[in-house]
């Protein structure tokens, strides 16, 4: 054993040398890596002419036909809706082709940029990504093309613009609530009135603290800064064996489909699918929904930056933005966008009222570690 440990030293030295050859020490900062990736930004594609005066970003985008953009989103029916609503029409209009990835992940964007191997051009990300904290890995958006003023207030920033809105809602099995209607999150926490297991998104910034606070009587506008102690006290009113945590939307849908949970925090599109596609007795309580969005971002160093910006500008235009809502009830982010009338009742943006809450993304990102610790501390106890 002793020889074993003693001779580890030369081996460590060797692997250090190997590491050194790989371009930078283990601690290479994102900034340094991003800098080395920067020259790629001036590849031929990005030297294409800026939008000419005659072109309208919404109807006749000045896109370079033949360009191939890689669009990364979350797959499934969601991405299919984006494909049918945006990618296919845009291809037809401009001749820009798309390849798609269905595994959008913040970690992948970071890995691509840090390795200087950026293969994604436009990425659909969640509300926890794209703020200043990620500026090292994202291109600033081109607001000479993107109509910032038309986007819902608070749903656009220097590095990201919301493409679809959705609600984090209370969904429930109508067959298991004795024909009573849960009125909001307080009823979610009322196991006497509504017995049965509760589904919850297994993520500290996914709404768990917010809904616990609303259930405890906190007004939507007073949610932040989050009083984790108060939230946890409320969470503790449901015994641990009554919680079922889901890691992603598909699982939440399965849990409510199978009836394993009586109520769940869900994304409204998933609850809608359970009801309408899977024909299960599921309903949504829109009161106290958390209205939030997915955002489009452009990883830093993509060779197709300019084309990516033109696509994003087009997809967030009033006349184009609502198109995916024909296929899945995720709504527009452009204030002037008009979804099909028959789809309107199912959209989160149409169900906004004075009980609606909004995530404070900046707060959630700034306090991520604190919230994670509080959440993990609670759920592992």
């Amino acid at each position: 054993m002793r020889t074993w440990f003693r001779s580890i030293v030369p081996a460590v030295v060797i692997s250090l040398l190997v590491g050194a050859c790989s371009g930078g020490s283990g601690g290479a900062s994102p900034a340094a890596s991003a800098a080395s990736a920067a020259p790629q930004a001036s590849t031929p594609a990005s030297s294409g002419a800026p939008a000419s005066a005659g072109a309208d970003v919404c109807t006749t985008p000045n896109a370079k036909s033949g360009t191939t953009l890689t669009f990364a989103s979350y797959g499934g029916v969601y991405q299919k809706a984006q494909r049918q609503g945006w990618l296919d029409p845009y291809s037809k209009l401009t001749g820009v082709k798309f390849t798609e990835s269905e595994d959008s992940a913040n970690a992948t964007i970071k890995a691509q940029v840090e390795s200087g191997q950026v293969t994604w051009d436009v990425v659909d990300v969640g509300n926890d990504f794209g703020l200043d904290a990620n500026k090292d890995v994202l291109e600033p958006l081109d607001f000479s093309l993107i109509k910032k003023d038309e986007i819902l207030d608070g749903f656009v920033g220097p590095y990201r613009v919301a493409d679809i809105t959705y609600g984090v809602v209370l969904a429930y099995r109508t067959d298991k609530t004795n024909s009573q209607v849960p009125n909001g999150w307080a009823d979610f926490f009322d196991l006497t009135k509504f017995p049965g297991k509760r589904g919850m998104y297994d993520y500290s910034a996914g709404g768990i603290f917010e809904v616990a606070l609303m259930a405890d009587g906190v007004a939507p506008k007073d949610l932040y800064p989050i009083d984790t102690a108060r939230a946890i006290k409320k969470l503790d009113t449901i015994p641990k064996d009554q919680w079922v945590f889901w890691p992603g939307g598909a699982k939440s849908q399965e849990l409510i489909d199978s009836g394993e949970v009586t109520m769940s925090l869900m994304w409204n599109g998933r609850a809608w699918s359970a009801k309408n596609l899977d024909s299960k007795p599921v309903a949504i309580q829109w009161n106290q929904q958390l209205l939030t969005a997915d955002y489009l971002v452009v990883p830093k160093g993509t060779p197709n930056k300019d084309e990516a910006m033109k696509f994003i500008a087009w997809a967030t235009c009033a006349q184009n933005n609502a198109a995916p809502s024909q296929f899945i009830p995720y709504g527009p982010t452009n204030k002037n966008s008009k979804p099909q009338p028959d789809k309107v009742p199912d959209l989160a943006v149409s169900n906004v009222n004075d009980t609606t809450a909004y995530f404070n993304d900046q707060y959630l990102v700034d306090n991520a570690k604190m919230l994670d610790d509080a959440y993990n501390g609670w759920k592992t106890k």
Binding site: V12, G26, G27, F245, K369, G377
Partner: protein, 297 residues
């Protein structure tokens, strides 16, 4: 300690006095590959744990140890690993003893029953447990259809589910070293004890059991160390309360993009694994542990 090869001097006599012989060169491409593709990543990860963010120093380690949740999950990891190990020992010892006691052909069949799971996909077996244990799973639906119960039993997303899944997956790692050691116990010893008038139970307790202890130690060590690193099984079969450190490490990297903290957690897990090995190496010949698979197959 870990050497599998012969002692120097037994081979390559002609090169006695030099520090290296011709055969040695054959091992170097493999060593090179492992240094580049296996060791280097681990070393750089250790470096990253103190340099990400820049000038991190030990701050990532501090963050870990001041976080209640992180420390609790570390405790969970040990707790679950320990229970799985005990369960494996309790099930595995009689099984290995049975293999040892039955005729060779039956022993061969019993060995196959251990080896096939040993090599079958961990993910597939975990998935099978989920299908069996969940609320709408095999056991619950059968019991409900027979009218034994009306509400599903809580078999999954708790410690029970995790222990069942992990013990089944780890059991071969207990049985194989136990059997390897038991096979080397000279039957004459127990026979002699019996001839001297010891009851079978006494012969077992006084003679066989002590002789099999190296196998117990080897199996226990192996199972415990492997259990420390489990990720897939507790994630699928456990609730948050059975979260193990591997899951936290993966979450840090995938969700939080926090390479510094994730790397620090990985280093902590690796150090604990080494400590377990180092402590155990005082009582076990590690060669017995690693040789298990070879003896077994």
């Amino acid at each position: 300690m870990l050497a599998l090869g012969r002692q120097p001097g037994q081979t390559g006599r002609r090169w006695r006095g030099r520090s290296i012989n011709r055969w040695a060169w054959l091992a170097f491409p493999t060593i090179a590959l492992l240094v580049v593709f296996f060791l280097a990543p681990l070393v750089l990860m250790a470096i990253r744990s103190v340099t990400d963010p820049p000038n991190a120093g030990l701050s990532n380690y501090r963050t870990f140890f001041v976080s209640d949740a992180d420390v609790r999950v570390l405790g969970n990891t040990f707790y679950i690993a320990a229970i799985s190990t005990v369960v494996c020992l309790v099930i595995g010892y009689p099984y290995a003893y049975l293999m040892h006691a039955v005729p060779p052909r039956v022993a061969g069949l019993l060995l196959i029953a251990v080896l096939v799971p040993f090599w079958s996909s961990l993910l597939v077996r975990t998935f099978a447990w989920e299908v069996i244990l969940r609320d709408t799973g095999v056991i619950n639906s059968l019991l409900i259809s027979w009218g034994v119960i009306s509400e599903p039993l809580a078999l999954i997303r708790n410690t029970l589910g995790v222990i069942l899944g992990m013990s089944q997956i780890l059991l071969p790692f207990m049985v194989l070293p136990l059997y390897a050691v038991m096979r080397r116990i000279d039957p004459d010893y127990t026979q002699a004890a019996a001839n001297l008038g010891a009851s079978p139970a006494a012969a077992f307790r006084r003679v066989f059991l002590p002789l099999s202890l190296p196998g117990v130690a080897a199996g226990t060590l192996l199972v415990f160390v492997l259990a420390l690193g489990f990720y897939i099984t507790p994630t699928i079969l456990g609730s948050p309360r059975e979260t193990m450190i591997s899951r936290f490490i993966a979450d840090q990297i995938q969700q939080r993009l926090d390479w510094g903290l994730g790397s620090a957690m990985a280093v902590i897990l690796m150090l604990l694994t080494f400590v377990a090995l180092a402590l155990a190496s005082r009582v076990v010949r590690l060669r017995d542990v690693f040789g298990a698979a070879e003896d077994g197959s």
